[in-house]
């Protein structure tokens, strides 16, 4: 989905503020949120990591941008635990003594039916173009590289294709490619010099350039 979470290249943000000697968690509930999520994925197997990323992406956009990181973690995890029927929202709200904002409902991705793994199609040095898709559901192609051409600099091992695994479609693994894009290909005349960007892309996102 072309959502607000897809922040790469969005203009208008100010300075990056670095906190000296930052603790891992600023408040105890942040640790709780982190542990709930890891336990729900790893122990409980209530959902997978791709569903989790997508649940965060589905947060109401203003809530997404306002919330600090661990509030997003908490919202993603809570949304899925409720959607999967593990926990009951009314019960949770009673326990919490207030409303619990969840992410908005899923819009499914259409599947392409493929599930068999295949040999990597591209090699290092190949010129590839990123497909200009606009999926309604989860995808890991940032908007800033759609339709852009780059060069494969590394072939990574096959990983589960997230556009499928985040939506309960048949799982398939395929290679991801580290694709290098010249800055001017991405940002035009406004680009900095000598500042390429490498993006890690599943094979299904790419076509021969």
């Amino acid at each position: 989905m072309d959502g607000i979470y897809d922040l790469g290249g969005v203009a208008g943000f100010g300075a990056v503020e670095v906190e000296a000697d930052e603790p891992t968690f600023h408040e105890p509930w942040e640790a709780t949120a982190f542990r709930i999520n890891l336990a729900s994925i790893g122990f409980l197997r209530a959902y997978n990591a791709d569903e989790y990323r997508h649940a965060i992406e589905r947060m109401q956009p203003v809530h997404y941008l306002q919330a600090r990181y661990y509030e997003r973690v908490l919202t993603g995890a809570t949304t899925l635990l409720v959607e999967k029927g593990v926990l009951d929202l009314a019960d949770l709200e009673r326990r919490a003594g207030g409303r619990i904002p969840l992410a908005l409902p899923v819009r499914p991705n259409p599947g392409d039916g493929r599930s068999e793994p295949r040999e990597p199609r591209f090699r290092c040095g190949a010129r590839v173009r990123v497909r200009d898709d606009h999926k309604p559901g989860h995808t890991r192609v940032p908007r800033y590289v759609r339709g852009r051409t780059g060069t494969v600099v590394h072939v990574a091992p096959p990983f589960s294709y997230p556009d499928a695994s985040s939506h309960g479609l048949p799982k398939r693994c395929e290679a991801t490619y580290h694709v290098e894009f010249e800055a001017s290909e991405l940002w035009g005349d406004d680009a900095e010099t000598n500042a390429p960007v490498v993006v890690d892309l599943w094979e299904s996102y790419l076509e021969e350039a």
Partner: protein
């Protein structure tokens, strides 16, 4: 039902944790077990990897050829460390890591990431104007030096192997590890010479 007001994140987190345990979805102690995993996720691990690579050419070669295995050699593995690729800084090239779509990081060697790494400011800007962002963060790079930004969009987790600073001849691995900061392994800083 709760009240009409939105519950605080703290109240929400406690409600979910309590319900998960009370309804029997998580065994007693499961959250504590996660806490123990979490304690192993520490950027000081990455500093050890870097220091080893600076002192042991064979390890450095293994690290660059297969980051996952070379980190595991030192005992650093686990969630978000399934496929680690190490990016070698050179005098001509500065590498930089970001995750524009969420905040993915190589937990076993970089730890859970700091807030600035997870901020919209860093995620939005660093792929587009890395030199400007680095300058604002205190690192001015000559135009001849390539800045290569790596966006963590899939399952590869990156670690930057920074340049070993001047003035560290004869330093032990421990002394070197003490110099390495997390920022240098994300790529927004150089490891400074000892003073």
């Amino acid at each position: 039902m709760g009240g009409d007001e939105i519950a605080s994140p703290e109240a929400r987190a406690d409600a979910v944790a309590e319900a998960l345990v009370e309804k029997g979805h998580l065994p007693e102690g499961a959250l504590d077990a996660v806490e123990r995993i979490e304690e192993g996720l520490d950027w000081h691990n990455g500093a050890r990897v870097v220091a080893r690579a600076w002192t042991d050419p064979a390890y450095r070669a293994r690290l660059l050829a297969d980051g996952t295995a070379a980190c595991a050699e030192l005992g650093f593995e686990g969630p978000q460390g399934e496929y680690i690729v190490v990016l070698e800084d050179t005098p001509e090239r500065k590498n930089l890591i970001v995750c524009t779509q969420c905040s993915c990081t190589a937990w076993p060697v970089l730890g859970l990431p700091p807030d600035w790494y997870k901020s919209p400011e860093y995620r939005a800007r660093v792929v587009r104007e890395p030199r400007r962002v680095l300058r604002e963060m205190g690192l001015e790079l000559e135009p001849e030096i390539e800045v290569r930004v790596w966006d963590t969009t899939a399952e590869t987790r990156y670690l930057v192997l920074p340049l070993r600073p001047e003035g560290t001849d004869g330093f032990t691995e421990d002394q070197l590890a003490a110099l390495v900061m997390r920022e240098a392994m994300i790529g927004v800083a150089r490891v400074p010479s000892p003073t």
